[in-house]
Structures are given as C-alpha cells and as structure tokens.
C-alpha cells in the first residue's frame, strides 16, 4: 500500500521534473500496457524478412553452397544446372551436375542428370547430415566435357602402382609362347655348375698358396746336396783315436739337428697337402654333381614333365583380369585421399573435444533411441551408365562412415539393366562395416547370367595373338575384405569362338586348339593387399591345351632335355679340364715332398746312430786286435827270452851227459 503511494508520488514528481506538458498528461491518463506492439511488429518484420529471404534465396544459396563445396573438396570446377530446395519435408533436387576430374579437366569425374534427396531437419540443426532418401539418375563416370573444367588443385599422383603394373604387363608380353632353346634355358637358369666351378677355382687358389708356403719351408736341392756331402764326410771319417770318435759324434749331432728341423717342416707340408687335397676333393665332387642339380632346377621351372605348368589361361586372361584390378585400384586410390581426410577430421574432432572438456561445463551423453552418425544415407537408388550398352542400377541402405553407431552394416546392391533381357545379366549384393577404430571390412557375392561378350583381344604375346570373337559367360563369385582381399570367382564361358595369329610351334598349337573350344571354365582368385594383390587364374583350357601340347611337343622336349644335359656336361668338362691342370700341380708338389722325404730318410736317427756304433765297434775291435797282437808279441818275446835263458842254463847239463 505504501509502495503504491510512493510510486504515484514518484510518477508525479517525474512528470514535474521533465516539465509536464499536455501530451504527458494524456499518456498519464491512459496508462501503457505491458505489451509493446511496435516491438512485436519489429520482431515479426525481422523474423519474416529472414524467413522470406531464406525461402526465396534458398535455391541460389544451395546452388552456390554445393558447387563451392564440391570444387573445394575435389579441387576442380563443378557445374550444376539447377538446385531446388523443398521445405516439407526438407529436401533438395539437383538437375544436371557435372564434376570436372582434377586429373583430366576434359572429362568429368562424375555427372548425373538429376538427383533428389530428403533430409532430417532436426539432425541437420544438430550438425548431422541424415539423408532419408536419395535417388540419382543418369550417373556417368569419365564422360567427356563440352569445355574443359577449371582445376584448382591437382590430386596427388597415385598412379605409380598402376604404372608399375603396366610395366610388368609389358614385360610379360616380351616373353613369347614357345619352347625355349638350350641357350635360353642356360641363360635364364642360375647354373650351379658354374657356381661350383668358381668355388673349386677359389678353393684351389687358396690351397695352392698354403701348400706352396709349406713346400717353401722344406729343404731345397742345395741343402739336400749339403746333407749328402756331410753324410759322405761322416762316413769317411777314420776312427783312429777317441778324439776321432768324439769328432764323429759331434758332426753327427749337427746333421741330426738339421735333419730334424727339416723333418718337422716336412710333416707340416704333408699335413697341408692332405688337408688341401680333402678340400679340393669336396669341391671337386660338388662340381661333378652340379649338372644333375642344375637339370633338376631347370625342369622345375619349365613345363617339361608337368604340362599343366603351361598356364595358357594366364596368358589369355591375365591382362583382362589385371585390367579389372587396375580399375578397382584406380577407384580405390581416388577414394583413398577422402578416406584419409575423413580420418584426419576424426582425429581433429577428438583433439577439440579434449580441449572443450578442459573448460567449465561437460557434455553428458544419454542413450538415444535412434542414434545417428555424422552423416548417413538411409536409402539410395541410383542408375549409372558405365558404357554405351551397360547401365547399372545401384541401391544401398544405411551408407555411412560410422556403421558402428547404427549397430548394423551398410548394404549395397548392383544389378545390370538389360534392354531386352529377361533377367539381370549381372547382380551383386554385399555389405560393409566400419569399426570405431576405422577398420573397414566388406563381403559380398555376385553372379553373371548369360552375359554376352563383345569381341575382345585377349593375348598380345610375342608369338600369339588371340581374339575372342563371340561368346557368353555365366559365373558366380564371392569376395571379402578385412585388411586383406580374398576373392574367388568361377566363370563358365559358352558358345565361344576364338581367332588370331600365331608365330611359333606352341603358339600354332594353342591357337588351333582354342579354335576348337566352345566352352571352358575359368577360376580366378585374388588375394592379398589391395595395392599388390596376388592373382591366380586357372582354367580347364590349360588341361586341354596341355594334353595337346604333351603329345605334340614331347619329342621336342626330349631333344631340349638332351641338348641341355649335354651343354651342362660340356660346361662341367670345361671346368674340370681347367681344374685338372691345376690339380696336377698339387700332385707334383706331393711327389716333390715324397722325394724330399725319401732323401731325408737316409739321414734318419737309426742310420746315424748305426754309423757311430759301427765305427765305434770297428775301432774297438781294432784296438782289441792290436792289444792282442801286442800281448802275443810280448808273450813270444818273453817266451824267447825265457828259452834263451833256459838254454844258457841247460848248457852246463850237456857236458855231464857226455
């Protein structure tokens, strides 16, 4: 109550303070309401203006936004004839879009006649692009442009791998379809015979040096001559006294010492020769066995015993399959920068999310009944014209880069649209998943039903050109990719007609056999990394052709086998001849050592000791004889003396007798 009175008093005072005129009095008499009509009108005009502007300029804004976004992300000019925005439900319709290929401005990366899509407005406001339906008609890839498009940035040259494949394909072409000559076989083979011959030479070179060093340490001729002289001198020594005997012993001791040192060297030399001989024997034996091993190796690499090794299917279809793989790789390499860019964006968003968490406030996530990924195409329908004759209908569901959010894989279907055919000539169905870690995996199956083949050149090898004039193909296949590709295809060609030209024995045979083939199978498997897959191509054509080959070229192979074996034997003989001369030197060295050994044997310990013993014995006998003779002499002398004395004494007794 007091407040009301005060309010009135203040109002009155205010009016007085401002000067209070008549208008003020009128306003005071008519109190203003709470609502501000002018404000509401202003708000309505503002909101209406923005709304109307958006409504009327939405088409132009969308046109500008799409062309700018495409040009910016792909790096080349994008042209759109018309863009229409639908408001309920929110959608977009694009007529005639052409996106220039940045790698080739004269062609379009892709183009389509019309595309329409419907979007989820609520999710769009939350920054998510959820497209409930999208349909594209008249999609074409790589078609020519009327005028070259502007290129803003060139994509990285990712065709190195493709070029490499082309190079290898060219290399394959240079290898013809013919029985190789002996020279070709020996040139291609990494011959063990040559290796072992070189090994023997090396062993000999090393051992020769070692043996020579050991021989050099042995006594030479002059030394042996000196030994002989010393030996003769010792033998000629006459023992007349003990001094002579001591001199003899001294000289013998010296000779024994010299001979002992040389005998030691001789022992070393003999051991070295033995070891060297052993080494050489091993290398020699290996060399002799090498040609046999070489022949086994050549046989393994060549279709001599196993005619199935001639994989004619690879020669005929390898290039065609490599072409498909090349195309797949080309699209993969084109898509790779965008996949990588998506990963980068994901990483950046993780970083920024981390930064946001540092400030006040935290986003608490609750379980959504229907969670959506950042972008999603719930249903896609597209018709794509791949060539003048082939149009394909493409369908896909739940296409996104975050299938893990949906908890189910994305699915896709491709089917050819035949003009007159009852059933689609080609059908493919598959699914893919992308894990939270970014790991991509896909698998699917496909089938071909009586797909008519257009005339196609199959082989351009050196000696053989084959053209498939007509035919049809049925087939089934499956593929899966998780880190590595694993694809298996089984094709059945019917009503085939081959033609071509040939320029060698086998090529003639191949072509003639092919001309008689009306049906054949082809099994293709592709495994390994996407950028370097391993391809295996098998066909019953191989067996058929090989049977014919086996019969026809058996004689030729026998001839080649004999010639090759002979050439290897010749190589062996050359090596052996070369090494035999060297080995003869080792034999000479050995004989030389034996000779020295024989000579040194003359100065052996036993012989030398025997000389001393003999001479000593002889000397002793001489001394003994001399002493005996002297004794005898003395005895006789004494005897004579005694006789004389006795005669003198007995002289007296003679007179008495008378």
């Amino acid at each position: 109550m007091t407040d009301t009175k005060n309010e009135q008093a203040v109002d009155k005072k205010d009016q007085d303070a401002v000067g209070g005129n008549e208008q003020t009095e009128k306003e005071a008499a008519k109190p203003k309401g709470m609502i501000r009509p002018a404000g509401i009108a202003t708000l309505a005009i503002l909101v209406g203006g923005v709304g109307a502007g958006t409504y009327f300029f939405a088409d132009s804004l969308a046109h500008y936004g799409i062309t700018t976004a495409l040009a910016k992300s792909i790096g080349a000019e994008a042209n759109i004839e018309e863009v229409k925005v639908d408001w309920h439900p929110l959608g977009l319709k694009i007529n005639s879009l052409q996106q220039t290929d940045p790698a080739s401005p004269q062609t379009n990366l892709f183009q389509f006649e019309s595309a329409s899509l419907k979007m989820n407005l609520g999710e769009l406001l939350l920054g998510k692009y959820i497209i409930s339906d999208i349909s594209v008609t008249g999609l074409k890839f790589g078609s020519a442009r009327n005028t070259p498009g502007s290129v803003f940035k060139a994509l990285e040259d990712t065709e190195t791998g493709v070029q490499k494949q082309e190079t290898s394909a060219t290399a394959d072409e240079s290898s013809g379809l013919d029985i190789p000559s002996v020279d070709e076989l020996l040139a291609k083979a990494d011959l063990l015979t040559e290796k072992k011959a070189r090994a023997l030479e090396k062993v000999w070179a090393e051992e020769k040096v070692a043996v020579q060093q050991a021989i050099d340490a042995l006594p030479d001729k002059s030394r042996l001559k000196k030994y002989a002289q010393d030996w003769r001198a010792i033998k000629n020594i006459k023992i007349k006294s003990v001094d002579d005997l001591n001199l003899l012993k001294q000289k013998l001791k010296q000779l024994k010492s010299d001979v002992k040192a040389d005998k030691s060297s001789l022992k070393v030399a003999k051991a070295q020769v033995k070891a060297s001989r052993k080494e050489l024997d091993v290398a020699y034996k290996e060399l002799k066995a090498a040609p046999k091993q070489d022949w086994q190796n050549i046989k393994q690499q060549l279709p001599i015993d196993d005619p199935n090794a001639i994989a004619i299917s690879r020669v005929l279809f390898g290039e065609e399959i490599a072409g498909y793989l090349e195309t797949a790789q080309k699209y993969y390499l084109k898509a790779k920068p965008y996949i990588d860019a998506h990963k980068e964006v994901k990483d950046n968003s993780k970083i920024s999310a981390g930064v946001e968490q540092g400030a006040y406030g935290e986003n608490i996530e609750f379980a959504l009944e229907k969670p959506y990924p950042d972008w999603l195409v719930e249903n896609l329908e597209m018709s794509a014209q791949v060539s003048a004759q082939d149009t394909y209908k493409v369908g896909a569901q739940n296409i996104t880069a975050q299938t893990y959010i949906l908890g189910k894989p994305a699915t896709y279907q491709i089917a050819s649209v035949g003009t007159k055919q009852q059933e689609p000539a080609f059908e493919l169905g598959g699914k893919y998943s992308i894990a939270q870690t970014g790991m991509f995996s896909t698998d699917g199956e496909w089938q071909l039903n009586g797909h008519k083949l257009s005339p196609k050149s199959l082989s351009k090898s050196k000696n053989l050109t084959v053209k498939l004039e007509e035919g049809a193909v049925n087939g089934i296949g499956s593929y899966s990719y998780t880190d590595e590709l694993n694809s298996k295809s089984k094709l059945n060609f019917v009503e085939t007609k081959f033609d071509g030209s040939s320029d060698s024995e086998i090529a003639d045979l191949t072509l003639n056999t092919l001309k008689g083939v009306k049906t054949f199978d082809l099994d293709v498997s592709v495994t390994g990394k996407l950028d370097s897959p391993d391809t295996s191509i098998r066909s019953n054509l191989d067996n058929r052709l090989n049977k014919a080959f086996k019969q026809a070229v058996k004689q030729r192979w026998t001839q080649v086998e004999d010639d090759t074996k002979q050439a290897l034997a010749s190589k062996l003989q050359n090596s052996l001849d070369l090494n035999n001369a060297e080995l003869a030197k080792l034999q000479d060295m050995d004989l030389n050592i034996d000779n020295i050994e024989v000579q040194l044997k003359n100065y052996g310990q036993g012989k030398l000791d025997k000389i001393v013993k003999d001479k000593q014995k002889k000397y002793e006998e001489e001394v003994k004889a001399k002493a005996k003779a002297e004794l005898k002499k003395q005895e006789n002398k004494l005897k004579d003396k005694l006789q004389d004395k006795l005669k003198d004494k007995l002289k007296d007794f003679k007179c008495c007798e008378e």
Binding site: D3, N6, E7, A9, V10, D11, K13, D14, Q15, A17, V18, E27, K32, G33, M34, I35, R36, A38, G39, I40, T42, L43, G122, E123, L125, L126, Y360, G361, E362, N363, I364, E365, F366, A367, L368, E369
Partner: protein, 169 residues
C-alpha cells in the same frame, strides 16, 4: 563504467515504471547468465521486443550479468552436474535428450543446464528485489541524484530525447 552507471541513474530518475525497470533487470539476468543463442536467450530476446521493459536498463545490466556469469560458471556447472548426473533423474534426462530442442540448446551440458536452472530460480526474486529497490531509490535518493550534472546533461542529450520518443511509442 562511468557511462553505464550514469545511464542506470538516468533511467532510475526517469519516468520509467518501476516494474519495467525491474523486469529489465530480471531479463538481463536471464540473458546474461545464459547463452544468448540458447533457448532462454532467444526467449528473452522475444520478450524484450514484445514487452514494455526498459531497454537501457536491460542493455546495461546484460553486460554486467554477462561478466558475472564468468565468475558464477563453476557454481552453475556444479549445479548442472548435480542435476544431470543424478541417478533418480536419469530417465527424465534420457527422455528429454530424445528431443531435438534439448540437444540443440545443449541442455545436456552441465554449465548450460546449471545456468538455466540457476537463472530461472532467481528470476522472480530478482524482479521483486529490483522493483523494491527502484521504489526505495526514488523515494529516498532521486531528488539528490537529479542534482548531479552528469544526469542533467544525459537527460538533455539528443540520444535521451530519441530514446524517450521511441520508448513512449
């Protein structure tokens, strides 16, 4: 800062209704503490256009409350966290989270929800306190403040005249 104070004084001394000034203060508090492009921020903008509130007071105090929101952020974030992480209300938040407007205005953010709840609870008290203060001021201090030269010069300014014309419309 000085100009801001002078403007507030000028408004207090003007013929503006106390409830207009009080609602401007309360709305400024709502707009200042909440994100301007959030649910409450946009609602306040509509109300500012539609209701006869004192714009000068609103603009001046919006700046003050925006600065204050930085100081109050930890408190408001903890209120939001208490509410959003309350197990008993999990079902409520989960149901609200299904709606686009809840996620669009980021009410699953602890600071945003805390600021909204905090400011809405304070709205009525702030309105009445502001109104009471205006009345008290006009009764006790206005005559004294009107003598300030700065107030007189502000009232004599062309801007004030224009404001008066628009405000009176």
């Amino acid at each position: 800062m000085f100009t801001l104070l002078a403007k507030i004084l000028s408004v207090l001394n003007s013929d503006a209704e106390p409830h207009q000034i009080a609602s401007a203060v309360a709305l400024a508090m709502l707009a200042g503490l909440n994100p301007l492009l959030g649910g409450i921020g946009l609602l306040v903008l509509v109300l500012i256009f539609s209701l006869r509130v004192n714009l000068s007071t609103f603009i001046a105090l919006f700046a003050v409350f925006s600065a204050l929101s930085i100081l109050l952020a930890p408190l408001m974030a903890s209120i939001g966290e208490l509410l959003l992480k309350n197990e008993n209300w999990l079902e409520l938040w989960t149901n609200l989270y299904q709606s686009y407007w809840f996620r669009l205005f980021e009410y699953n953010n602890t600071l945003t929800l805390g600021a909204a709840v905090f400011s809405v609870i304070l709205f009525i008290p702030v309105f009445f306190i502001a109104k009471w203060l205006v009345l008290k001021y006009r009764a006790a201090l206005m005559a004294f403040v009107n003598k300030f030269k700065v107030v007189q010069s502000l009232k004599a300014s062309k801007f004030y005249q224009v404001y008066q014309t628009v405000h009176g419309a």
